[in-house]
């Protein structure tokens, strides 16, 4: 018994010694990353006020690859925009012409797009499967009024806000909107302002200057919604406020919300990862051309 006891003590000491020798708590695995398929990335977001439709065509990379984004650009793809059956081939934009714009292809439209137009994008490349998407330009919204009030109450964080109240008629069926409000900043330059709403139909977009709206709770009804914005810098700026009202596709609504959610969980160790929604067949990315109205706020 005594011997067994001593043996056990010796074993414990040995085990402790082993424990202290190892870097236990983190191990770099020699594992292959999950398999993936190389695909084209199509990123084309525009609106009906544009004379040209620009897009960025690139490729994805394996999760353990670490190339910078510009190295993923594809410059030798064939990119076509089809508007109501008329095929328009996109031209490449040289990197010198891009300035702060990352788009590497553009299509000059013979005329501006309008409600009801059917638009398709198609991208082909010898090393990738064909990628593309199609959509219909959504109708112009029936905005009845957009009114500014200095006193907009408090937002969810208890900050004092001004507000823009918008009244509009929502058509029957699923409809989604994106809202931006521009106000002069302290340098008197028209700038998009931080925008929130306590309305349950409103959702955050990937940036804080855009708010998304779903008509799930007011389908086919007249709707009044308040958008909270930061108080103006100068009183005489009241007449310079503009409402940018986008009638967006369901795909873009989902994409924008998923990108917001993706960013929210990016650094959250307990959150489940969020996939960013794509509407590109045969590839990934987003294709969306919004109907845009710019309304002066009273």
């Amino acid at each position: 018994m005594n011997f067994t006891f001593k043996l056990s003590i010796a074993a414990i000491i040995l085990i402790f010694s082993l424990t202290s020798c190892e870097d236990f708590f983190e191990t770099t695995l020699e594992l292959d990353p999950p398999p993936f398929e190389k695909t084209l990335v199509v990123d084309c977001v525009s609106n009906i006020m544009a004379d040209t439709i620009q897009m960025r065509i690139s490729q994805n990379q394996g999760i353990l690859e670490d190339k910078p984004n510009y190295a993923l650009d594809i410059s030798d793809a064939d990119v076509y925009l089809n508007v109501n059956g008329m095929e328009l081939k996109a031209a490449t934009i040289s990197s010198l012409d891009r300035n702060d714009n990352r788009n590497n292809y553009r299509v000059v439209l013979p005329s501006k797009l309008k409600s009801g137009d059917n638009v398709q994008i198609k991208v082909t490349h010898k090393d990738f499967n064909e990628a593309g998407a199609a959509m219909e330009i959504l109708p112009t919204s029936d905005i009845l009024s957009a009114v500014f009030s200095e006193n907009g109450g408090l937002d969810r964080d208890g900050n004092k806000k001004s507000k823009v109240s918008v009244t509009f008629n929502d058509p029957k069926g699923k409809n989604f909107y994106a809202i931006k409000i521009s106000v002069p900043n302290y340098d008197d330059i028209s700038d998009y302002t931080y925008i929130t709403s306590v309305d349950p139909s409103a959702y955050e977009s990937y940036d804080y200057e855009t708010l998304l709206l779903s008509d799930e709770g007011f389908d086919g009804e007249k709707k009044v919604i308040d958008f909270l914005i930061d108080p103006l810098y100068y009183d005489n700026d009241k007449g310079k406020i503009k409402l940018n009202w986008y009638h967006i596709s369901e795909d873009y609504f989902k994409f924008s919300r998923s990108l917001r959610a993706y960013k929210n969980t990016e650094d959250n160790p307990f959150g489940s990862p969020v996939p960013v929604i794509s509407n590109i067949n045969g590839g990934v990315g987003i294709f969306a051309i919004h109907n845009l109205q710019i309304v002066d706020v009273e």
């Binding site: 770099t28 398999p35 353990l64 690859e65 670490d66 984004n69 702060d100 990352r102 996939p275």
Partner: protein
């Protein structure tokens, strides 16, 4: 329905007349030396080949044909079986005392074939052998009932070292965990590495995984019933154990011999106390004062009093808390900065139970309970200036749940063929979904600001009514059938549900019990939790007008048999369908001020599988082998694009081997080995750039953000998990006391089991790599315990 209830009442009232030619023997079954009531003890009348079992309070009742004398055989695992002859002309009370030095000398006990698995109508139920559990190795030597349950088929663990139970595809919130009849809401200490149950105070543990009897309700996946010891009726006994992280003390004994007894059991960790001098020195080395640490404690207390043969009362209380704290005070040239932060969470439960024997066939138990779980965290920062002016800011967060409940349960045993249970209960829930309290004081700006933000406390009422009968139709065919009616009232919504339950057994040749069961369940309260870790921030929330109650139905079929006197084998297949399960919407978080209902989504689940269990309960070599083959899927409209995906704990293969070997009278060896398919996680497969536009109206600029592209949710499998734990116990009996030295090691071959995986950048090789974090390497333990 009303007619049926009326008929049943009439039947109960006139039962004694209807059974005029019969006699009823009833009473309590208890341990001869301690007076501890024995649950599930078999009382068998061989002449009529009929029998009964004692209920949760040790009460039994058996009605037989009149005779001059009646010979009963009583058996209970770990005790010597005994035969008693009682007079059989009139009904009478007869208390049975079972003897056997089971605790210290189990090897010598003559094990009888009591409570044969194949004869029970109930299936998917395991009476957890607490004595065996105490002998098996445990993380840091802390015997943990919940972790021992994870070694059973159909029960899975979550992450490494976690106490959470995933029963047949369910999640931990779907387990009804009752401590002396009181639901315990948070069963975790230290993020789930330890459970709140102190094994020294526990008398008995039963786990039901399916085929739920009608008396249980309110959860989808399992019922875990834990009963505390009542306290020795004759003399004071104690149990002290000292381990690496904490110590325990249990005392029990009579207040008035044979009438009133008590039990007090406490446990506290002391890493904070041991580390205190080092921590203070560390603060001092940085010219600061401060303290930081973590501890948890549990306290169980129970008193029971026997008023008469008919009336007994039990009072039990449990309190447990975890606390992290950090305090620091810095002084710089007449300015003092201080920080005081803490995070605390814990349960408080209480129960008062009154057992009343209405007549020799009808037993009543009335229970009043209280249960509270609270999370409280506070961060305070302050500055005191030379002129004594101060700036102070404090942010607190409080969440939790509180229940007041009343229960009335009846056991009615009109004949050996029937064991009828019926009763009702009401629970008043009070949910606190999370409140922030902000306080700011500044004598410089003359500010005194207080604000509470968050969501209002919500009250709800849950009701239930049940009736069930364990009916032996023939010697071969036995059915337990019942109905559970539940209701839930919250705000303006009222939900009701009628849940049929049935389980049955048919005895095949060679004493093979063929079993089948079907049960529907409904759950009105939800745990909003991030999968995997038992965080104290997990929120209990009610079903509301928007959030529908969780529902499930489960069907199971199986066979069971005892053989070679002490072996038990069972095989079961099950299929479970779940509805209205809850999960966080993509991108939602815990500490948000938005309505929690906006943050969650509801969906469906499906789990099916096959369980195999071979157990040897007694003898020199005891233990079990459990194997589960399972599939577990989820489907949420808002997650994974509406496509079905595997649950994180979808574990195709789960194996556990548990062995205890009595090497000699004073030494036993034990080992457990577990293997499980790796957890399913969502991992990025590739990355690509997405443009985001910012800037002013006339001067926009585009930024390309790299985003990771995920495969389907939970489509990547982590490495399989496997681990060997070993232990040895040296037991020495001395006069009036027994001391035990326990040595062992958790993860004896130090397998690097995955806890989570993530992508990182290896700066040495300048490349992106996939890393795995493993929590526990080999962890040795040593524990000393003394029973007196």
């Amino acid at each position: 329905m009303q007619k049926q209830i009326f008929k049943t009442l009439i039947f109960l009232l006139f039962s004694s007349i209807l059974t005029g030619q019969k006699v009823t023997i009833s009473g309590y079954v208890e341990d001869a030396s301690s007076g501890e009531k024995l649950i599930g003890c078999n009382i068998y009348h061989s002449a009529s080949q009929s029998g009964t079992v004692s209920n949760t309070y040790g009460f039994y009742s058996i009605t037989l044909e009149k005779a001059d004398s009646i010979l009963l055989t009583i058996s209970y695992i770990g005790y010597k079986s005994q035969s008693v002859t009682v007079q059989g002309k009139t009904s009478q009370n007869y208390n049975i005392k079972m003897s056997g030095e089971a605790i210290f000398d189990e090897v010598e006990i003559v094990a009888t074939k009591e409570k044969k698995i194949e004869t029970e109508s109930q299936m998917s139920t395991i009476d957890v052998p607490i004595l065996q559990i105490k002998k098996i190795p445990a993380l840091l030597g802390e015997t943990d009932v919940l972790k021992a349950l994870q070694l059973l088929p159909g029960v899975q663990s979550g992450g490494e070292g976690q106490s959470g139970l995933y029963v047949r595809g369910g999640s931990p919130d779907q387990n009804l965990i009752l401590l002396d009849g009181v639901p315990v809401y948070n069963v975790n200490h230290l993020f789930g590495f330890f459970s709140v149950f102190n094994a020294d105070a526990i008398k008995d543990v039963t786990l039901i995984k399916g085929g739920f009897p009608a008396r249980y309700g309110g959860r989808l996946s399992s019922v875990l019933e834990i009963n505390l010891k009542e306290g020795h009726q004759q003399k004071i006994h104690g149990d002290v154990s000292i381990g690496l992280v904490g110590s325990k003390l249990t005392l029990e004994g009579p207040i008035k011999k044979g009438k009133t007894s008590f039990l007090v059991s406490g446990r506290r960790t002391y890493i904070d106390l041991l580390a205190k001098p080092f921590i203070k020195r560390s603060f001092k080395s940085e010219n600061s004062e401060g303290d930081t640490g973590y501890y948890f404690y549990d306290l169980n207390a129970k008193v029971n009093h026997i008023f008469s043969q008919r009336d007994r009362i039990y009072l039990s209380v449990y309190g447990g808390n975890d606390k992290f704290y950090f305090k620091q005070k810095d002084s710089y040239s007449n300015i003092k900065d201080y920080t005081d932060n803490y995070l605390g969470w814990g349960n408080l439960t209480g129960a008062m139970r009154w057992n009343h024997v209405i007549n020799d066939k009808l037993f009543m138990n009335t229970t009043l309970t209280y249960s509270k779980y609270k999370l409280n965290t506070e961060i305070s920062l302050g500055t005191e200036y030379e002129d004594k002016s101060i700036d102070f800011i404090s942010l607190g967060y409080l969440s939790g749940i509180r229940d007041y409940a009343a229960k009335l349960d009846f056991d009615y045993v009109p004949s050996p063929n029937h064991f009828i249970r019926f009763g009702t209960n009401v629970i008043l829930h009070e949910f606190n979904p999370g409140q922030f309290n902000l306080e700011q004081i500044s004598t410089i700006n003359n500010t005194n600001f207080k604000q509470s933000l968050g969501q209002p406390i919500k009250n709800a009422t849950e009701l239930a009514l049940y009736a069930e009968d364990d009916y032996e139709i023939t010697k071969k065919f036995k059915v337990n059938a019942g109905l559970h009616l539940s209701g839930f009232s919250v705000d303006d919504a009222f939900y009701t549900s009628l849940q049929p339950r049935v389980s049955m057994r048919y005895l095949l040749p060679h004493n093979i019990g063929l079993k089948a069961s079907f049960a529907t369940m409904r759950q009105y309260i939800n745990l909003l939790s991030f999968e995997g870790i038992g965080l104290p921030t997990d929120l209990w929330l009610p079903t509301t007008a928007r959030i529908q109650p969780q529902e499930s139905w489960q069907a199971a079929i199986g066979a069971a048999k005892n053989f070679a006197s002490d072996y038990e084998i069972s095989i079961e297949a099950y299929y479970k369908k779940m509805k209205n399960l809850i999960a966080y919407k993509d991108g939602s978080g815990i500490f948000e001020l938005t309505d929690w209902q906006d943050r969650i989504t509801q969906g469906n689940g499906e789990a099916y599988g096959l369980e195999f269990f071979l157990q040897k309960k007694t003898g020199k070599l005891s233990g079990w082998i459990g194997y589960t083959l399972a599939w577990n899927n989820r489907q949420f409209q808002d997650l994974n694009e509406g496509k079905t995906f595997p649950f994180k704990y979808d574990r195709r293969h789960d194996i556990s081997l548990v062995t205890i070997y009595e090497l000699s009278k004073g030494i036993n060896l034990s080992g457990t080995w577990v293997y499980g398919t790796g957890n399913a996680v969502t991992l990025a497969k590739s990355s690509y750039g997405v443009q985001e536009t910012y800037g002013t109206v006339n001067d926009p600029y585009t930024y390309v953000n790299t985003i990771e592209q995920y495969g389907d949710r939970n489509s990547y499998r982590m490495r399989p998990y496997h681990r060997l734990d070993i232990g040895i116990n040296f037991i020495k009996n001395k006069k009036n006391r027994t001391r035990t030295w326990s040595f062992g090691a958790y993860n004896a071959y130090s397998n690097k089991n995955p806890f989570f995986v993530y992508f990182s950048h290896d700066y040495y090789y300048d490349k992106k790599v996939l890393k795995q974090v493993s929590l526990f390497p080999i962890i040795p333990y040593i524990t000393y315990s003394l029973k007196f």
